[in-house]
């Protein structure tokens, strides 16, 4: 062979190194008897991880070809045996899009969901807390293939997790290792294309063809794979709680309307669960959240009612009162707050019989309800004991979903890949989209004899999800930023913007997807992505208009500016 000596030496060297690696795996390190070869290891038993395990288990070709193990540190049997009376609801609720629900039905998991505990959203009311500009969404506007689905389905996360666990009971090929912690993850060699070793606290080690990080925002799998992630905190805390209220009256619709008001401190959302129970997600400043959480639950109930009704100026004042008394260590009494509220409502000319009064006589709503009663949620009378909790809001997106180098054969799904503001209720839906796409990618790879852990085969997953997720995430992020201010100029642009949006059917349709609807089976598969693109560009235009308005506002004298915005606001209903 016409090979020079140096070349021969070089490649011989490479081969030597390669075979050394192979030997090292076989002869050193952890005794091979304790290393269990596994095809897919899913770390994390949250909804995304369980959904992935269920999906892989429900595919015949995957079941016959791959060994799948899910590892979770918690006690999943507690979730599997979770049983709550129909009069109480968990405070962690998600909105599932029709697409997500159809997917869960396809894999056979939806059959195990207690449907009596879920609720279809038929209608949505979204409005600006400062200008009162409002968008209304109705399920009937959508050409839904199945009418009873509504725009989205609200369900407790526990109900969904329990369903997925029950579904997995029927899939014995999927191994569940719960109450088992991952102590560390290492690569089995220093070369490219190494295999991850997942060391468990039960002294065994899993060697994975494909390691899936479904382990949430602080993903240890992401850290192992050295995937950088990019994001920021919103300096916002989300308070969640289960709310108790009287049923809607005979002249009102059923409790199937979701409400969201964008206050400058953050959006407050009311998600209907049953005729007399609903879920709260109130995003607000951390200090305010701490004060509200520490206050008497009745104070919180009054504040929730006010937050959906009272004009922004007075709401700001009430916030101040709550903060001051919390700082002084005095807990404000419900009665004091009611008096405060009475005065405020009088000065805003809100009568005691108005739908916008938080002080209506509860239970006295027999007969004809006040006008506009459907513009605001029912009055909260009580908060289910022990359901008030809060968590900080973040935006975070991993730079890539696929590990490389030492992190080869690693992929991220759900919150491990992306964390999003909950205002559009998209977090878990994006995660389920990841799960569906990854399962499809694995099935396609098996069908052509590929290695499911290889970078090339996983590329299909990251290509189909990264940009789609990014589009939704940035649209939601821009919405949050746009609505987190009470500057006159921006509010003016915002009110005009939202009203403009209301007129544009296509944009409205895209916005409806933010609330979790879809266009059923009639829409082409690419529709949801393009819908979001429309939504994103709509928000983009809005953001530009805001900047222009801001610039205009700065050049005008403050009096003219204020007059202008007052004038514009007075022309709005």
């Amino acid at each position: 062979m016409p090979l020079s000596r140096t070349t021969t030496g070089r490649f011989a060297n490479r081969i030597f190194r390669q075979s050394l690696t192979a030997q090292r795996y076989q002869s050193t390190g952890i005794p091979s008897s304790e290393v269990i070869d596994t095809d897919v290891v899913i770390v994390g038993g949250g909804p995304a991880g369980l959904a992935l395990a269920s999906t892989l288990g429900s595919s015949e070709s995957i079941r016959n070809n791959l060994k799948v193990t899910l590892v979770d540190g918690g006690d999943l049997s507690k979730i599997k045996t979770w049983n709550a009376p129909p009069t109480s609801f968990s405070n962690r609720v998600v909105s599932l899009t029709n697409k997500s629900k159809a997917f869960l039905t396809d894999i056979g998991a939806w059959d195990h969901v207690d449907e009596a505990r879920t609720n279809a959203v038929e209608h949505m009311q979204v409005w600006d807390g400062v200008s009162d500009a409002r968008i209304e969404f109705d399920a009937q506007d959508l050409q839904l293939t199945r009418v009873n689905n509504g725009m989205a389905t609200l369900t407790e996360i526990l109900n969904l997790q329990r369903a997925l666990l029950r579904h997995l009971d029927n899939l014995p090929n999927i191994q569940l290792l719960h109450r088992t912690k991952v102590t560390s993850i290492t690569a089995d060699s220093e070369d490219k294309g190494s295999w991850p070793l997942i060391h468990l606290d039960n002294n065994s080690t899993l060697r994975a063809r494909l390691l899936v990080g479904a382990d949430g925002f602080n993903s240890p799998v992401r850290t192992f794979a050295q995937i950088p992630s990019f994001g920021w905190g919103y300096n916002t805390q989300a308070i969640v709680a289960t709310l108790v209220h009287p049923p809607r009256g005979a002249f009102e619709g059923p409790n199937t309307t979701a409400y969201q008001r964008f206050l400058p401190t953050g959006p407050i959302a009311f998600l209907p669960l049953s005729p007399t129970m609903s879920s709260l997600v109130w995003s607000t400043k951390p200090a305010l959240a701490a004060a509200l959480q520490a206050a008497d639950p009745n104070v919180l109930a009054i504040m929730i009612n006010a937050a959906f009704r009272l004009p922004h100026l007075s709401m700001k004042y009430l916030h101040q009162r709550i903060l001051e008394s919390h700082a002084a260590g005095i807990s404000i009494l419900p009665d004091t707050l009611r008096q405060e509220l009475q005065f405020r409502e009088q000065s805003h000319a809100v009568g005691p019989t108005s739908a916008y009064s938080s002080l209506q006589i509860i239970g006295g709503q027999q007969g004809i309800p006040p006008a506009d009663s459907e513009m605001v949620p029912p009055l909260v009378t009580q908060i289910q004991a022990g359901t008030v909790a809060s968590f900080p809001l973040k935006y975070n997106h991993a730079e890539t979903y696929l590990g490389e180098g030492v992190g080869a054969r690693t992929v991220l799904v759900g919150d491990a890949a992306h964390t999003i503001h909950p205002l559009a209720g998209q977090g878990l839906n994006l995660g389920l989209g990841d799960v569906e796409s990854l399962a499809n990618c694995i099935t396609a790879t098996i069908a052509t004899g590929g290695d499911i852990g290889s970078y090339t085969s996983l590329l299909r997953y990251s290509q189909s999800r990264y940009l789609a997720n990014h589009t939704v995430m940035s649209a939601v992020d821009k919405l949050h930023k746009l609505y987190s201010t009470d500057s006159d100029a921006i509010v003016w642009a915002r009110s005009v913007g939202v009203e403009v949006l209301n007129e544009l059917d296509s944009v409205k349709a895209a916005m409806m997807m933010s609330a979790g609807a879809d266009f059923g089976n009639v829409a082409p598969p690419s529709w949801s992505a393009s819908g979001w693109n429309i939504a994103a560009s709509g928000v983009e235009i809005l953001a530009k208009a805001t900047k222009t308005a801001e610039a205009v506002g700065n050049t005008l004298t403050s009096t003219i500016g204020a007059n202008l915005s007052t004038f514009i606001r007075s022309t709005r209903p």
């Binding site: 390669q18 294309g193 490389e404 052509t448």
Partner: protein
């Protein structure tokens, strides 16, 4: 304008073929296709080239990233042709496409790092990968040994590798259900001999799968000028334009090709045996039970290869795949 630039570029490139070279290569091929005496088809320079690159085989984002991406499409073509024939011959067949390769004896000639061999083995075929480069076989074996489903020690492995040229296998009695040779034809010394070796290694009714690059300006532009010289994605010297083979030349070869009796070493083929492809070269039509030829198209935005539809002759300008079936009864008179 573009064509002028292209022509100029052709003439300026030191490694680019002159018109004389192209016509020489045509003669070389035609001559080779008719040549009788057996040569070793291995080209030492080519082996040295790929040996040098052997450690790169499994770097999916490196030198061979295009081959990694091409692999699922090749597998899809192989799987579907075999499944289609199996279904046609046995209409009651209940198996699914992904089971089509199960239990078949498959030979992968010029397996390189084992990209295709591993996939064939995963789909249940008893796979033998052979390569004339010792270092390629070392890399392929080492890579498979890291995979519990493929490593020989596991006992359930149906993947083996051997450092041997295809010709040596002719000396053994073993014949194969399927012979694959992916992106090899454009690297061998004597394509006609190589093709007849592959053909003879098949059982009657066996399937031959080839993939290679067409000798067209498009292919020159994409595989040599862009991939090697401009983008540097592929090492210089990987491809030699004159060695590219046109789809029509390959089809014509099998229109003339008759299996020798009893698969013995080359004797003059009996005239009475049917050629592998019976449809005349004057038509573009191929009998679906005999052969199929498909272009492979790279979609840069999706970073993915796809298989062109059956009648897309325009897609045969660059990378393409050929499936041709060895007649079941070599002595049957031509119809």
């Amino acid at each position: 304008m573009v064509s002028t630039i292209l022509r100029q570029t052709f003439l300026q490139q030191s490694r680019s073929p002159s018109i004389r070279q192209i016509s020489y290569s045509c003669r070389r091929l035609n001559g080779a296709l008719k040549s009788g005496p057996s040569h070793n088809s291995v080209n030492p320079d080519e082996i040295a080239h790929f040996s040098k690159l052997s450690s790169e085989w499994w770097d999916e984002q490196g030198e061979f990233s295009f081959l990694h991406k091409m692999n699922p499409v090749r597998m899809q073509f192989i799987r579907d042709r075999i499944f289609e024939v199996a279904q046609e011959e046995n209409p009651g067949l209940s198996s699914k496409p992904h089971q089509a390769l199960q239990g078949l004896d498959i030979l992968d000639v010029g397996c390189g790092g084992g990209l295709l061999s591993e996939s064939l083995a995963r789909m249940g075929a008893n796979t033998l990968g052979i390569d004339a480069s010792q270092s390629n076989i070392a890399i392929a074996s080492s890579h498979a040994s890291a995979d519990p489903a493929l490593k020989p020690a596991s006992g359930r492995s149906n993947l083996r590798y051997r450092n041997a040229p295809a010709e040596t296998l002719l000396l053994e009695p073993k014949r194969y259900d399927v012979v694959c040779s992916m992106e090899v034809l454009e690297h061998v010394e004597n394509p006609a001999d190589f093709l007849s070796t592959c053909a003879e290694l098949l059982k009657p009714g066996g399937h031959l799968f080839l993939s290679t690059i067409a000798r067209t300006p498009t292919a020159y532009f994409l595989t040599i000028l862009v991939a090697e010289d401009i983008l540097g994605k592929v090492s210089k010297g990987t491809h030699t334009y004159a060695k590219y083979i046109k789809p029509s030349e390959l089809l014509d070869y099998f229109r003339d090709y008759h299996s020798p009796p009893n698969n013995q070493l080359k004797t003059s083929p009996p005239v009475s045996s049917r050629p592998w492809i019976t449809s005349p070269s004057s038509t573009t039509y191929l009998n679906r039970s005999e052969a199929d030829i498909r272009g492979l198209i790279y979609k840069p935005l999706a970073a993915r290869w796809s298989l062109a539809p059956r009648d897309a002759w325009w897609a045969l300008e660059c990378n393409y795949m050929l499936w041709v079936r060895k007649p079941k009864e070599p002595y049957a008179a031509a119809r």
